[in-house]
């Protein structure tokens, strides 16, 4: 128990030590004394987060199980570092020139700044990394467990869980403190990088120490150990070409695509030249890391009781031989490997989650146009901190739920295969201008689906997420879709199978979708920027200028932010620099502050370009111009929006004018109508008044005269009533409030009724109506009373106005396209052409023929026919007056 307490104590001291180192590095960087922080060696060591607890503990287990295959995990990255350093250089250059913050940012930025793509990559990265974080937590707790059980105190499961929780909380705290320390979110994290570098040394040292102990302390020297190896199973082991090739490819791809690797390799990179050192130093580091793996495995297998877990030989071999101090060192090494991975992974993932998921959501909940102020920065930091907590907690959750079942190595490989899906999109994006967003979506989706289907889901074991029958026979019995034997190709190693198909189909989908679709302009611009990054960018430089330029800067600043503001700013700066005059020295510091100030008015890119032109320290790059164009486009959009608004106002004014004209016209029409109504009312009233006065005042009237005059009064009273009826009818029809009484009836019946009604009281001078009853055998479904009213009016007009000596009216029924037509044609002289146009207007009686009637009849007919869905028109060229009533076919057909 004593040793266990010492272990806890050492751990705590180690953690405090890491905190101190990180603080020191941060402080040094802040004070500008951090030159040594930017050394290529630190960069190289920080890359060692590639070697996680999986490598530290797991490699030995891997070697014990599968011989030299563990080497592939080191060969992949070494090949990338040595052979592909130019690719890395391109990535780093792009990352710096585009101010890339994560691999999700890089991919989304390349493919037209698509946030959807960024969200997709982020989610996939989180899915791929969470098991890996769980793995680290597991390794820490299990190694602690191994330690304690060696001292006879088995840890309960609850204690293991609380251990993991403690570790997770500590790592979250560390990452938050050093990962989100600066307000400037793009700043590099010197503290984190330094701590990671120190941990890299610690784990290397620990593994070397154990290795040396095993070879010289236990194995009895180099030659003895080599003999042991020859004798063991590992020595006899045959390598499998397909697995080796796949694993080398996989580890190389993961090295490029893992979010945490991208973080240290690209985001935290200080200088492209560091890659030159890292290209040999990092493979060397890996080589040393792998040096003693096989000896430890072989000696462990010899020494340890059968069935003991080879994954922890690094720990158990020293323990079993009573070397507590060495075991403790080894534990610290494993602890370092686990913690450094979790810290950087949490940092990288939180950046992605915060930038691409949390912030867009937060911004969308804010009122539009929230400017980038100090407030937003605090929100960014808060959101990153929360994201860090969430990412680590997710890993912890996975650890608790999965129960730590599968072997460490296999979990790592599944994770590798997942992130390797980013590779085609990443490589395609920086080397092929034709790659499009659609292609990226297609490739990523296909790749991840196949990965999940063939590798991730089956990894939980047959019968959990994937049923045994599905594994054996495919989904719903479709054999060629079997998760581990696509297209019926059996006998492949599941991992090889999954990697082969997912990467192949991923790449194919990516290429085909890219070739089929067209990139948007932004995608094309970004594509050109990424692919030709070396032509477009120089390494960013900070400003430097001479005093003479300060005046120019002053002039420019005055123009942009106003004379007084600019003077105040320059004066303040001069005072800060301790100068007596009004103009400060154009120090890089001042220029940066000025740029920020100007950016508030004209946008960051424009401000950068303007200062660049005056100071001349850096030429205005294509990128700068693009950014300026971007800002200009925004301003143009704003001004075009203003333009649209003023156009809209002009349109509104025009509409108002038109409405006003219309109202004036309506008002005139109303006046004219009232005047006509007045006329039509006054005329019969004149007769009534005149004759009633005559009847009243004249006592010498004959009986005949009395009868005649009172008849006139009676008739004119009736005329008044009719007029009022018509007016009311018309007003109801025109207002549209008329209720149609739809019913079915025969056309013949309606015409019969109309003819008899119209000719009642006409006496002997009846117009002769000619009809064809066969034509009239049509059933109608409409407002029969209203239709009859129209017919009565037309027949009545013929009766009143037909001037032929023997007046005749023909009623003809026929069909025109989609309509039923009823023509009323008389044999009179017809209506003159000039009047044909106005007969349907109110009060438009035709000139000569003054017959009783107010001239509302045809206006009413027209309104009725409109309501019935038909028309009534004058039919010219028929000899006499001719009217055509048209009814829609539905009205006729409906009843048939």
């Amino acid at each position: 128990m004593g040793t266990l307490n010492v272990l806890v104590g050492v751990c705590l001291i180690y953690v405090v030590f890491l905190f101190l180192i990180a603080f020191a590095a941060e402080r040094a960087a802040l004070e500008g004394k951090g030159g040594w922080l930017r050394s290529p060696m630190i960069y190289t060591l920080s890359l060692s987060i590639y070697c996680t607890a999986w490598t530290f503990y797991g490699a030995v287990g891997y070697a014990a199980r599968s011989g030299l295959e563990y080497l592939t995990i080191y060969i992949g990255p070494s090949l990338v570092m040595i052979g592909w350093w130019w690719l890395l250089r391109k990535l780093v250059r792009i990352g710096r020139s585009q101010r890339i913050t994560s691999i999700a940012d890089l991919i989304s930025s390349r493919y037209g700044k698509s946030n959807l793509l960024a969200v997709g990559v982020t989610v996939l990265a989180v899915i791929g990394t969470t098991p890996y974080i769980a793995l680290q937590l597991q390794s820490v707790t299990v190694s602690f467990d191994v330690f304690s059980s060696a001292y006879g105190s088995e840890l309960t499961e609850a204690a293991q869980g609380s251990n993991a929780l403690l570790v997770a909380a500590g790592l979250t705290l560390f990452t938050i403190v050093f990962g989100t320390r600066n307000l400037d979110v793009n700043e590099r994290h010197h503290g984190v990088v330094m701590a990671v570098a120190v941990e890299a040394i610690v784990k290397l040292f620990a593994l070397l120490a154990v290795g040396i102990f095993v070879v010289w302390g236990l194995g009895g020297g180099v030659s003895e150990t080599l003999a042991r190896i020859d004798a063991s199973e590992i020595g006899q082991w045959q390598m499998r070409g397909d697995r080796w090739a796949t694993l080398i490819f996989l580890s190389g791809a993961a090295f490029l695509c893992l979010p945490r690797m991208f973080q240290v390799m690209v985001v935290e990179n200080e200088n492209e030249d560091h890659l030159r050192t890292a290209s040999w130093a990092f493979p060397a580091y890996l080589m040393i890391m792998s040096l003693f793996v096989v000896p430890i495995a072989v000696v462990g297998l010899d020494l340890m009781p059968a069935g003991s877990n080879p994954d922890f030989f690094v720990l158990t071999v020293p323990l079993a031989t009573g070397n507590d101090a060495l075991a403790m060192l080894s534990f610290i090494g494993g602890f370092s490997s686990a913690t450094s991975m979790v810290i950087v992974a949490a940092l990288a993932l939180s950046t992605m989650v915060s930038n691409h998921i949390v912030m867009p959501i937060w911004l969308s909940t804010q009122s539009v146009g929230a400017s980038v102020s100090g407030d937003v920065r605090h929100v960014v930091l808060l959101s990153r901190r929360i994201s860090i907590g969430a990412v680590v907690f997710l890993g912890y959750l996975y650890f608790r739920l999965s129960g730590g079942g599968s072997a460490l190595a296999s979990m790592g490989l599944i994770s590798f295969a997942g992130v390797a899906q980013f590779l085609p999109v990443l490589i395609g994006g920086i080397f092929w201008r034709g790659a499009t967003r659609t292609g990226a979506f297609a490739g990523l989706t296909v790749g991840f689906v196949i990965w999940a289907y063939t590798l991730l889901l089956p990894s939980f074991g047959a019968g959990t997420l994937v049923s045994e029958t599905m594994l054996a026979e495919g989904p719903m019995g479709v054999g060629w879709l079997r998760p581990q034997a696509f297209f019926g190709i059996t006998g492949m190693d599941p991992l090889v199978h999954a990697v082969f198909w997912s990467i192949l189909l991923n790449t194919m989908s990516f290429f085909i979708a890219s070739l089929v679709g067209f990139p948007s302009p932004l995608e094309r611009l970004q594509g050109a920027q990424f692919v030709n990054v070396f032509e477009h960018s120089s390494t960013p430089q900070s400003w430097g200028g001479s005093l003479a330029q300060t005046e120019d800067l002053m002039v420019m600043a005055q123009r942009i932010i106003g004379a007084r503001e600019a003077q105040n700013l320059f004066e303040r700066e001069a005072k800060r620099q301790g100068m007596s005059g009004l103009l400060p020295e154009p120090s890089p510091d001042f220029l940066q502050r000025l740029e920020r100030e100007l950016a508030g008015s004209v946008g960051a890119a424009t401000a950068h370009a303007m200062i660049g032109q005056i100071v001349g320290g850096a030429s205005v790059s294509v990128e700068d111009l693009m950014a300026v164009a971007d800002e200009t486009a925004q301003m143009m959009e704003y001004s075009s929006r203003l333009e649209a608004k003023s156009e809209e106002q002009a349109r509104t004014a025009r509409q108002l004018r038109q409405a006003n004209e219309k109202l004036t016209l309506i008002s005139e029409q109303k006046d004219s109508f009232l005047s006509q109504v007045s006329h039509e009312l006054r005329t019969p009233m004149t007769s009534i008044r005149a004759f009633s006065e005559i009847l009243r005042d004249s006592d010498r009237l004959s009986e005949e005269e009395k009868i005649k005059y009172s008849s006139i009064i009676h008739d004119e009273a009736l005329r008044l009533t009719r007029l009022l009826d018509d007016l009311l009818d018309l007003s109801v029809l025109e207002s549209g409030r008329v209720n149609l009484n739809l019913q079915s009836g025969s056309l013949k019946g309606i015409l019969d009724h109309a003819v008899s009604s119209a000719l009642t009281g006409a006496g002997t001078s009846k117009v002769q109506v000619v009809r064809d009853s066969q034509q009239e055998e049509v059933m109608l479904y409409t407002d029969l009373d209203r239709l009859s009213q129209v017919f009565i009016n037309l027949i009545g007009n013929a009766q009143k106005y037909c001037d032929a000596s023997v007046p005749k009216l023909r009623i003809e029924v026929g069909h025109s396209t989609g309509a039923l037509v009823v023509d009323f044609i008389d044999n009179g002289s017809g209506i003159p052409k000039v009047e044909q146009a106005v007969i349907f207007e109110k009060f438009s009686r035709t000139g000569e023929q003054r017959v009783k009637g107010a001239g509302l009849g045809l206006a009413i007919c027209r309104e009725i026919m409109t309501r019935l869905g038909g028309t009534v028109e004058y039919l010219p060229g028929q000899g006499g007056a001719a009217f055509r009533v048209t009814l829609p076919e539905e009205a006729a057909l409906a009843a048939q």
Binding site: S678, R682, T683, M685, A690, R850
Partner: protein
């Protein structure tokens, strides 16, 4: 002083009423019922007074009156205008066209009679 009145009006009942009222008072009444040839009829018959409707088929009362006023022979002819449009602007139109008197329908028989008497006497 003659007693001839020409009534130019298109409503048969109103013609009959005015004819009755004036005849009873001893006037000799001629009638005409459209606007086309109204001017010619006036010039041919040269009545002592014209009672003129505004809304006539063929030509409005205003046009007829303007034509009459432009002729020397009928320049000073007393013209009593009758209209069923009782708006202020109709009265103004009548005055501008040169109406001697303007009355709105429906009128009182006595008023018409008084007006005719006054106009012919004056």
């Amino acid at each position: 002083m003659g007693k001839n009145v020409l009534v130019i009006e298109d409503e048969p009942n109103i013609i009959e009423a005015i004819s009755f009222i004036l005849s009873r008072d001893g006037w000799s009444v001629a009638t005409h019922s459209n606007g086309h040839d109204a001017v010619g009829v006036v010039q041919a018959s040269m009545p002592d007074l014209v009672i003129l409707d505004v809304m006539l088929p063929g030509k409005t009362g205003y046009d007829i009156l303007r034509e009459l006023r432009s002729e020397d022979a009928t320049q000073g002819l007393p013209v009593l205008m009758l209209t069923a449009k009782g708006q202020v602007k109709d009265r103004e139109m009548a005055e501008r066209a040169g109406a001697s008197r303007f009355m709105t329908k429906p009128f009182s028989n006595a008023e018409v009679l008084d007006a005719v008497r006054e106009l012919v006497a004056g």
